[in-house]
Symmetry: C2
Subunit: 278 residues, 2 copies
């Protein structure tokens, strides 16, 4: 935590960090907390003090998570795991790729991250359907925009499902049996929050073939312990919450943007709407 400590006893405090220090929780001098992370669910858990501005770091996370998603989508379409395995155990038969053009990707979350993911998938020829709140402007890189209540007809057609949801009361266990069992062979990627997916339901969907394979960058328990059931999920690859790592320059750039907006008397674009949860 970098604060403005050491000033007058009643001077306003601006804090930057992952969590406010426990002793400063509820301190009336704290006026603004800038989170070095994009996800703020852990900060909001248990309530956020009224009147304290909360801003967050997004940085180039959208670009990076978009490339992560594209890497795994293309790895899937190009059969990268199969080629790696065949090279380890030669010789192999020809393994033609399965081109992404025209295949449907459902992208859940239509904010910074979902938009950047769709932009990269769209450039590779996928048909992108953004699933998000109606208030998010239509258009952007999405070929279609729907709300979460409208995804039913799309689930059976999706070749890829990208979870870029924030964690809120509305999104906890969002991907449970109802949605996952409606899939027909989609590859599932989670770049959002671990708790938006029910791992037991994902296991059932993988076993039944509703989910063809999974790539999980986030889990509720990170890193998972050696005996954790997630290691037993078939056709599942775990990455290490590394899809959208925040660099130090991202934090300073986003903090500076917030600072300059406030000096100009404007609400920072990266201000968290606490009531909404992100």
């Amino acid at each position: 935590i970098t604060g403005a400590e050491g000033g007058a006893p009643d001077a306003p405090l601006v804090l930057v960090g992952a969590h406010p220090a426990a002793r400063l929780r509820g301190d009336p001098r704290v006026r603004w907390f800038h989170s070095v992370n994009a996800g703020v669910d852990a900060l909001l858990d248990g309530g956020w003090p009224a009147g304290v501005l909360l801003t967050r770091t997004v940085g180039r996370m959208g670009e990076r998570i978009g490339q992560y998603a594209l890497a795994w989508v293309l790895a899937d379409c190009q059969g990268v795991p199969g080629h790696l395995a065949r090279t380890a155990a030669p010789p192999g038969a020809a393994n033609p790729p399965n081109w992404p053009r025209g295949q449907t990707a459902l992208v859940y979350g239509t904010g910074h991250i979902g938009t950047a993911v769709a932009s990269r998938l769209g450039a590779a020829g996928l048909h992108t359907v953004g699933v998000g709140r109606a208030e998010h402007a239509p258009g952007g890189p999405f070929d279609e925009r729907i709300t979460a209540g409208e995804d039913g007809p799309w689930l059976g057609r999706a070749r890829f499902v990208v979870d870029a949801l924030p964690l809120t009361d509305a999104t906890r266990d969002f991907f449970a049996d109802a949605r996952l069992s409606a899939l027909r062979g989609a590859t599932f990627l989670n770049v959002g929050r671990g708790a938006t997916v029910s791992l037991p339901a994902l296991g059932r969907a993988l076993a039944a073939g509703h989910v063809r394979g999974a790539v999980l960058d986030v889990l509720t328990d990170e890193p998972p312990a050696p005996g954790h059931p997630v290691w037993e999920l078939p056709r599942t690859t775990l990455t290490s919450h590394s899809a959208g790592i925040t660099a130090g320059t991202d934090i300073t750039a986003d903090f500076r943007a917030c600072w300059e907006a406030l000096r100009a008397g404007q609400a920072p674009e990266l201000a968290v709407r606490v009531g909404r949860g992100y």
Copy 2:
């Protein structure tokens, strides 16, 4: 081979296929051969009859090879092989990605394929340097354009080298000890022709660490036999000449374009310049 056979004994013949039938080689009725492949080195080997038009199929190969290259570049940057291996043998340490933005990719070949490859790599943030004949127009998606004689200073800076060269007398064993030993940890991808790379030299460059890893879609002997030395190359993945597979609709579309150009009295864009070799 689909010909206009069955017409008058001296009627001109238009043939479509991979190779002209041996009995039609040198037949003066043959006026035009449309190759269902993009690479025509095997057709030109031993000479091409004067006055016979040779056209070729390119189709959407550029787009597809571009996605193949992007898939392996992003797989490399995102550590896909490492994540797959770690998931197979849990648990794993965090493995942050190595973002492509600003890294240099040398793309050898600045025609259809090299251009499409650079376009996709550029969209992922790589700095692309096209290496090709001076007659190819500058610009396009390349950040820089050089000729093959000018690549020396770039070899030590390249993070990726993509070989999209046709096979001609000038490109046989183009990647031999001189070029490969000048690399400083580049990942090498071959989507062009197998014989443009000396496999013994590649093996030495891999052993010395000049080449960090290799992805080879093409080889002189395809598929390689189980005892072939290519299987022993370290950190090398073989794919099955599948980067730019030609679909049936590509052949008909490209043949139609040639046909229509000829009817309009124009030289087809896909006509091979036999003296040049592609």
